[in-house]
């Protein structure tokens, strides 16, 4: 299954990477003007690759575990049940792609915008002055894939402003910039 899955992962990942690079090309020009639509920046493809790999690693063996005993003990017709996890992989593959594409953020002159979600959409605006703490976290798997998450905290615990799957350098740049802007515009409670 490893070899079977590796091909699609590689090609699809490369395709997504190319798409993201094309999108990222206009990223560096980040105008900070208030007027006009915000300059959205998408996520690098690492997160998508990691999520798809996890999906395949989880559902692929499940298909085998379901399939082999059924084929041996209940007859080959029953082995069709293995299609369920496989269908899950295909569905999950598309869903992770859609979800990954929906994540984007924009730095404006005075606030940070985060937009995400396909079915359940959420758009958050956090003024820099309200930022109490900026956190960069990176778990073992994320580190392996060169990813880091950025989380903003305000005095309201309900504020849920997280950007997952950033490149570590970008996460650190954002953290430093946000901290700096936050200090300059600090407003407290």
């Amino acid at each position: 299954m490893e070899t079977g899955a590796a091909g699609p992962t590689g090609t699809a990942g490369a395709a997504e990477a190319a798409g993201a690079e094309a999108a990222g090309a206009e990223g560096p020009i980040r105008a900070t003007g208030e007027s006009g639509p915000p300059d959205w920046v998408g996520l690098p493809p690492g997160l998508l690759r990691l999520r798809r790999l996890l999906l395949v690693l989880f559902l692929g063996p499940l298909a085998l575990v379901v399939d082999i005993p059924l084929a041996v003990f209940a007859g080959p017709v029953w082995a069709a049940f293995a299609a369920l996890p496989l269908a899950g992989i295909v569905w999950g593959w598309r869903m992770t792609g859609r979800n990954w594409r929906s994540w984007r953020y924009a730095e404006r002159a005075d606030d940070l915008l985060i937009s995400r979600g396909v079915l359940w959409r959420e758009e958050t605006i956090v003024p820099y002055g309200r930022m109490q703490l900026v956190e960069v976290t990176s778990g073992p798997l994320e580190r392996k894939y060169g990813l880091a998450s950025l989380q903003l905290h305000t005095a309201a615990a309900a504020t849920d402003a997280t950007i997952p799957g950033l490149a570590p350098a970008e996460a650190e740049r954002l953290r430093d910039r946000l901290t700096e802007l936050g200090e300059a515009r600090s407003a407290g409670l």
Binding site: W120, E123, I125, G129, Q132, L133, T154, G188, L189
Partner: protein, 458 residues
């Protein structure tokens, strides 16, 4: 959300040191004080309560044990227990100190595990003086500072009544930014009464509320049914006691707690005093109120009464007035949040008609109004409520939309504030919501500019 989710900076306000040898180096001008000498007695009832609880829980066992009890064992038991408890109480009292510096209140406590809490006065959200009934008889009071991140341990219990008032005045004067030399002479700021709830109005208002009646009915009906079904006395008692308790706290308990509710205004901020048996005196400095909410149960509409709630970061109390005439309540709110007027019902923009597919019937209750100073959201049909949040108090703005909502092109706008409350405007037209989101972010950013400073007298 739990306290652990509280933002890091807020936690930094109360810098705690649980290390064993975090010995403070008290500066010469810092006067360390101890609590009132009756403090060790405050937990004296605990062992008795434990014994009583055990006896009630297991009656047969308790009776048997009592029969076995001889004079000698009793004497030995008391001879060991009482001095140990007394020594523990004395030592905790002896090792608890507090001191007021120019910028902080420091509380140093702990016999084996030392704990030092430094509470920054410029981040002060409210000061409470509480007097439980017994404490009132003895003439002592608890003093608690509400700062984001403080917990139960950071209250000063107990202080002499006069000392507590003097300390409150001093803390408020320091927090307000008076010169350090003059704080002790500033004294109590004079208060002007804004609102007082007559006991009769409170009683009538409580009788016109649904919850106490519903609970009372439940407390009568459920145990009766249970008795008919099981004929087991213990089951009936086990269900009846909590239900009667709930009915009591919701009716008589609320009356006792909200009796003689007085709201006053002073240069130190808002003063809220209430309680029949336990007296509570709360002071909220200017500019600390994050959200205000008007609630009007169905039967209060005819007399035109409302309940007003206010949310202050880190404060447990959330009631500004348990019952007040609406016009009067609006005047009070206008004094607390300067320049704010509560939008009239006609000023609220209703939700689009297709909202009825997302929230049947109740969709009519939703509405939004934005003025120069506040964002207001209305909801409810039978029990109406209006939530107000000043633009300057908004921490973040969110727009959320589920699949069914997108189908009908509506979205919800959520404004998060520092008191861990979220004001939600549901069922807005999607385009309007997106516009509101951008506009609100701008208003919240600029709204802070002309807000008064944290040190309001400086």
């Amino acid at each position: 959300m739990t306290a652990a989710d509280a933002p890091e900076d807020a936690r930094e306000d109360v810098r705690k040191d649980a290390r064993k040898d975090a010995r403070e180096d008290p500066r010469k001008d810092v006067r360390e004080q101890r609590l009132h000498p009756v403090t060790p007695l405050r937990r004296a009832w605990a062992p008795i309560a434990v014994l009583l609880g055990w006896a009630v829980h297991d009656m047969d066992q308790a009776q048997r044990q009592l029969a076995h009890l001889t004079g000698a064992t009793l004497a030995i038991g008391l001879g060991v227990l009482v001095p140990t408890a007394a020594l523990y109480g004395f030592l905790t009292w002896w090792f608890t100190h507090f001191a007021v510096t120019d910028t902080e209140l420091r509380i140093r406590t702990g016999l084996f595990f030392r704990r030092t809490a430094h509470i920054r006065l410029d981040r002060l959200q409210a000061v409470d003086i509480t007097q439980p009934l017994l404490a009132r008889i003895i003439g002592v009071a608890k003093l608690k500072l509400d700062v984001v991140g403080t917990d139960k341990k950071d209250e000063l219990a107990f202080l002499g009544e006069g000392d507590a008032r003097a300390l409150r005045a001093e803390l408020l004067a320091r927090a307000a930014g008076f010169a350090p030399e003059s704080v002790r002479d500033v004294g109590e700021a004079p208060a002007r009464e804004l609102l007082r709830t007559p006991p009769r109005t409170l009683a009538v208002a409580l009788l016109l509320t649904g919850a106490p009646w519903a609970l009372l009915c439940a407390a009568l009906v459920v145990p009766t049914l249970l008795w008919m079904a099981t004929h087991n006395l213990w089951t009936v008692i086990a269900t009846a006691v909590p239900m009667v308790g709930a009915a009591f706290t919701n009716s008589a308990g609320r009356y006792i707690k909200e009796y003689d509710w007085t709201v006053g205004e002073s240069p130190d901020g808002l003063r809220i005093d209430h309680g029949l048996l336990d007296r509570v005196h709360e002071t909220v400095p200017p500019g600390r109120v994050q959200t205000v909410r008007f609630v009007q149960p169905l039967l209060w509409r005819r007399p035109g009464w409302v309940r007003v709630e206010l949310h202050v970061a880190g404060s447990a109390n959330s009631v500004l007035a348990p019952v007040a005439p609406r016009a009067h309540a609006e005047d009070v709110v206008a004094r607390i949040l300067p320049g704010v007027s509560v939008p009239k019902t006609a000023e609220f923009t209703p939700v689009p008609r297709r909202g009825r597919w997302c929230v049947p019937v109740w969709w009519r209750g939703y509405g939004v109004a934005v003025t120069d100073t506040v964002f207001a959201a209305r909801q409810g049909l039978l029990e109406r409520s209006i939530a107000l949040v000043p633009h300057a108090k908004v921490q973040s703005v969110r727009l959320t939309q589920g699949p069914w909502e997108r189908c009908w092109r509506v979205a919800a706008l959520r404004l998060d504030t520092g008191a861990n409350t979220t004001v939600t405007a549901r069922l807005r037209d999607a385009g309007e919501a997106a516009e509101l989101l951008r506009a609100q972010a701008d208003r919240s950013r600029t709204g802070r500019r002309d807000a008064p400073p944290d040190r309001w007298m400086a």
